[in-house]
């Protein structure tokens, strides 16, 4: 506790780094997944292939993935962000594609009948209706990315994992506790915040 009182500015810097890396990775992964999800949603075969490949990426252990990238991109933040993007693709693509698929066919028929073109239908009908599911996917992947960021500190990406690794290396329990508990608090609060958003979006749709 004393250690934390003396060093809280450093802890806040690590927390901020953690959030910044996670958000960057999540934004990149979301942009990629939105495009792939929209393209694959109504193409059964392509969707299967995309899910198989992204499922493989999701199954490979984090530290092994970071290690594979070292010969290619070296240590540091780029390595960490590529790993995180690879990890969140499956969850995000699946949520985008499932959200679009579950839009009732008669709503799309009605939109077509009103003279909307496919791009308008996607932007004004399908994506808004898919939003609650997309947010659900973002919630799971946000938590995953935060968890991967902890390990990524080992390849010098920064963030709260740095505190944990320094604490382990110098046998300093206060650092370990601070790092591990702050990262748990971060995941739980992000999860709960996005769960709240998800519920609001669902209620708005029902009303």
């Amino acid at each position: 506790m004393n250690w934390l009182l003396r060093n809280w500015p450093d802890v806040l810097v690590s927390l901020w780094e953690h959030i910044a890396i996670s958000l960057t990775a999540l934004a990149i992964a979301f942009a990629i997944s939105l495009v792939i999800g929209i393209v694959a949603a109504r193409r059964e075969k392509l969707y299967g292939t995309v899910m198989t490949i992204s499922g493989l990426l999701y199954t490979i252990p984090t530290l092994a993935f970071l290690a594979f990238l070292i010969p290619l991109v070296g240590l540091g933040r780029a390595n960490a962000i590529i790993t995180m993007v690879a990890f969140s693709l499956m969850i995000l693509i699946r949520s985008v594609a499932t959200g679009i698929r579950e839009v009732p066919a008669d709503i799309i028929d009605a939109a077509r009948g009103m003279g909307m073109n496919p791009a308008q239908i996607m932007r004004r009908i399908e994506l808004p209706l898919a939003l609650p599911l997309i947010v659900a996917g973002l919630r799971v992947s946000a938590v995953t990315v935060i968890s991967v960021t902890v390990v990524a500190a080992y390849v010098n990406a920064g963030g709260l994992g740095t505190l944990i690794f320094n604490g382990i290396a110098s046998d300093h329990p206060a650092k370990i506790w601070t790092g591990a508990l702050s990262v748990c608090l971060l995941s739980v609060s992000v999860d709960m915040g996005l769960a709240l958003l998800e519920r609001r979006l669902k209620n708005r749709r029902a009303a």
Binding site: A64, A67, F68, I176, C184, V188
Partner: protein
């Protein structure tokens, strides 16, 4: 690059097999212990509505905790080595198994249960011959998720002295020795993918004939 990794592997067979053995032993024991705790507990909890909701909610919070944070929190209390790593990995496996058991048991078709009671089945027969077989696919989905998470977590066990294939990766990163790092990373990736595939196949076999989609 891969040739160098192969040469490294051939020149360090004892260390490799020992690390692989520790990795598999650590993962399998954690999965077994977690399953022995969570499946019976889940079955018992599933009968009570409020308790089920409370346990599922608590487990969902538990699932968001990063594996490395769990391992790191265990270390100052239990120290380093195989046993603390096993304890942490078991903790990591609890939430997916318990939630899937509860969801699987509660999802059993009420008509099937009614029919079984009408046929005069005892409670035990109902559980073993109707409820468990019908919940099995969902329970196996939970075991599959837990198994993959444990294998990934066991890589991180290297940080708290738990041994396993993570040792090659951490040593390889520390010395920037790519062959050594690959000797850890490739087998562990194959182990995770193989386990996922194996549990997927088991899950399909465990599905009762009448419940199979095709």
């Amino acid at each position: 690059m891969f040739a160098d990794a192969w040469t490294y592997l051939l020149s360090h067979p004892t260390q490799f097999y020992r690390a692989l053995g520790v990795h598999v032993a650590l993962s399998a024991s954690a999965l077994l212990i977690a399953a022995l705790i969570c499946i019976p507990a889940g079955i018992a909890v599933a009968r009570k509505d409020k308790l089920s909701l409370a346990v599922v909610n608590a487990a969902n919070v538990g699932r968001t905790l990063p594996s490395l944070a769990v391992l790191a929190l265990v270390m100052p209390i239990l120290g380093t080595g195989f046993a603390p790593a096993l304890f942490a990995l078991t903790l990591i496996a609890l939430p997916p198994i318990v939630t899937h058991t509860i969801v699987g048991m509660r999802g059993v078709d009420a008509d099937a249960v009614d029919a079984a009671i009408g046929m005069g089945m005892t409670r035990a027969a109902l559980l073993w011959r109707v409820e468990l077989p019908m919940a099995m696919p969902v329970i196996f989905a939970g075991l599959r998720t837990a198994a993959v998470q444990i294998i990934s977590g066991a890589v991180l066990a290297a940080f708290i002295g738990g041994g396993g294939l993570g040792d090659f990766i951490t040593a390889g990163i520390a010395m920037m020795a790519v062959p050594q790092l690959l000797v850890g990373a490739i087998p562990v990736a194959l182990l995770a993918l193989g386990t996922d595939f194996l549990f997927g196949a088991l899950q399909r076999r465990m599905t009762p004939q009448g419940l199979r989609a095709s």
